[in-house]
């Protein structure tokens, strides 16, 4: 099927909405990752004792927090893939359909 690639021949409103939603999601997730990682680093630099607090006989708070940062990185990428597969790809199909129609 022929697809016209010039910008004038598509539902530009839908396309703009798609671009905006993509960066809304991407930048929010990026902001969460940055805040969590650099927050962790700053706690290490300025309030290290917080992570040395004992939550068991020997276990410190730092260990679950550290593991949580690793798990969070994986979860955030998972959220992005889930969003992109379910929402983003559908919007892309919508815009492509509008390009074929004209």
């Amino acid at each position: 099927m022929h697809i016209d690639r010039s910008p004038g021949v598509m539902d530009s409103k839908k396309f703009q909405a798609l671009v905006v939603s993509k960066w809304k999601v991407s930048l929010s997730l990026t902001a969460i990752m940055l805040a969590v990682y650099f927050g962790f680093i700053l706690v290490l630099a300025f309030a290290k004792d917080l992570l040395a607090v004992k939550i068991g006989e020997h276990m410190t708070l730092g260990i679950p927090v550290g593991i949580l940062v690793i798990v969070l990185a994986c979860v955030l990428t998972g959220i992005y893939v889930f969003w992109a597969n379910s929402r983003y790809d559908k919007s892309v199909q919508d815009v492509l359909k509008s390009m074929r129609r004209r």
Binding site: I3, R5, S6, P7, M10, F15, L18, V19, K22, S26, L27, L29, T30, M33, L34, Y37, F38, F40, I41, L42, L44, A45, F46, K48, L51, A52, K54, G56, E57, H58, M59, T60, G62, I63, G66, I67, V69, I70, V71, A73, C74, L76, T77, G78, Y80, V81, A84, N85, D89, V92, V95, L96, M99
Partner: protein
């Protein structure tokens, strides 16, 4: 455990057998891959036939170097909690790759990340600038890997350093030269599966020892070496140093040419995003395993034995493998470490060769007028040349302190490659002059500042006081690269490039016209 009874450092028959099985199997794969590595898309991008899961494993294989396996396990075994902080830094760049880079890169480019930067801009200046950033990243990373592998193999197998470097170089050249990206990808996949499998089994043995209780593991560590091993120590003392290193690791991952190149091996952006998800999962799991292995080695082997073998703790995982699983398992893990080195240097060499051939030869010297056969031929010659350079550099830097080169490679990737790539994707008015200035500023600042930083100026050149206070320059060099890109684009705008932005957006977000 008595240090005298370890067989590390002597030729171990099991490890030699495992290693030969690995090399023979991968060379057989290379032989079959060679038949499918004739066109440029086949040689550079495995015919874009790799699935998301396969590429996720291969990305993990590219990223999990011997240094991150043996080095981090060693760091944990000697310093405890600080090792975990260190490994977290290596993981957090992956979500950034996913959110900002992976899909646009796949949709806009062909074989290298310079394809994306040069999409709307003047080819020649951008290709030249991007090649410099790319080649410097690859070369510093490669030197660190070659020197590290030589000393590692010497320590594990008792083989002379020079022999080890030459073997690694020659086998790696065979993979890339004949099998291109397809063989390199399968080497990465096999290595990743072996490494994850071996580390999982090692963790199983550790947990078996402690009745499958982490509480018991941490308790014995604290009883033996004090509760300080479960608390943050001195790793993050200067907050600016830590933030700057964090920036280098986070954004550098999104600018490593051998990682970025892998996104062209999948058929579309959907598979590209899937592959980052799998890669992040595998690498995160791997770091949790190395954390456990480090604590296991601390308790089961003991810190005195580990540091007696190697002051940096690099033998901790191997000593643990021998103590918990016997000589046969030690042989297996040692062979996996060797395979790991081979896979990482193969990926780096292929990335360097594609820059030399695709960006410099085809786009600059031949102004894009080169046949595909010619391009692949040049890529193979570049592979051979880079392989020889890697061996020579590996021999030349014997015994030198090259650990800083990995940090430098990440700083250059975060400063020279990442800002230009991101601005070309996101900013309509990004101009040719702005891009070239950004890459030049990022490279110069990263290299210049690290020379006058404590890392090189004090530790290597033995001057009493550093001129630049931070150990990693990324916080300044990356900010400088973004500023230079902005100012350069304002000073010399590029009307043609701004006009093409709408077309780029359609290809970027809808995948229309993606190769």
């Amino acid at each position: 455990m008595d240090p005298m009874i370890t067989s590390i450092g002597q030729p171990n028959p099991t490890s030699i057998i495992f290693f030969f099985v690995f090399v023979s199997a991968t060379l057989v794969i290379t032989y079959y891959a060679a038949k499918k590595s004739r066109s440029a898309a086949q040689f550079y991008a495995a015919g874009r036939s790799v699935t998301g899961l396969q590429n996720g494993l291969a990305l993990a294989g590219d990223y999990m170097s011997a240094a991150s396996f043996l080095g981090i396990a060693g760091l944990v075994s000697l310093k405890g909690y600080d090792g975990l902080i260190y490994s977290i830094g290596w993981l957090v760049g992956w979500p950034i790759v996913m959110f900002l880079i992976a899909e646009p890169l796949r949709n806009l480019g062909k074989f290298t990340f310079a394809d994306v930067v040069a999409y709307r801009l003047s080819q020649k200046p951008i290709r030249i600038a991007a090649s410099i950033g790319s080649l410097m990243t690859v070369c510093f990373y490669l030197i660190a890997q070659m020197v590290g592998s030589g000393s590692l193999i010497k320590m594990v197998f008792g083989m002379p350093y020079e022999v080890a470097v030459v073997i690694v170089g020659v086998v790696m050249i065979m993979y890339v030269l004949f099998g291109g990206m397809l063989a390199t990808t399968w080497v990465q996949i096999i290595k990743a599966v072996l490494l994850l499998g071996g580390a999982t089994f090692l963790v199983f043995l550790v947990l078996l020892h402690f009745g499958f209780s982490y509480t018991e593991l941490f308790k014995q560590a604290a009883v033996k070496y004090g509760s300080k091993v479960l608390e943050p120590g001195g790793l993050v003392s200067n907050p600016w140093d830590a933030v700057s290193l964090g920036i280098a690791l986070m954004f550098g991952t999104a600018g490593l040419p051998h990682i970025l190149m892998r996104f062209y091996t999948v058929p579309d952006a959907k598979q590209a995003r899937k592959s980052v998800f799998y890669a992040t999962g595998f690498i995160g799991y791997f770091y949790i395993l190395t954390f456990t292995i480090g604590f296991g080695a601390m308790v089961i082997v003991g810190q005195d034995v580990i540091s007696k073998m190697d002051a940096g703790g690099n033998m901790a995982a191997l000593l643990l493998a021998e103590a918990a699983g016997g000589t046969v398992f030690l042989g297996f893990i040692a062979a996996v470490a060797f395979a790991t080195i081979l896979a990482v240097v193969a990926g780096l060499t292929l990335a360097g060769a594609s820059t030399l051939s695709h960006d410099l030869y085809v786009s600059v010297f031949r102004s894009g007028r080169s046949s595909e056969e010619e391009e692949v031929k040049v890529a193979r010659m570049a592979t051979l040349a880079l392989g020889v350079v890697a061996i020579v550099l590996g021999l030349a830097f014997k015994g030198q302190n090259v650990a800083f080169m990995v940090g430098l490679a990440f700083a250059i990737a975060a400063s020279a490659n990442f800002p230009a790539l991101l601005m070309s994707i996101l900013w309509r008015n990004f101009s040719t002059f702005g891009a070239a200035l950004s890459i030049a500023t990022g490279t110069t600042l990263a290299v210049g500042l690290i020379i006058v930083s404590p890392t090189v100026w004090v530790d290597i050149l033995h001057n009493p006081l550093a001129i630049f206070p931070l150990r990693n320059p990324a916080i300044i060099s990356m900010t400088g690269a973004f500023a230079a890109g902005y100012l350069g684009s304002k000073l010399r705008p590029d009307a043609e490039a701004s006009r093409k932005y709408e077309e780029q957006k359609i290809r970027n977000y809808l995948g229309v016209g993606a190769e």
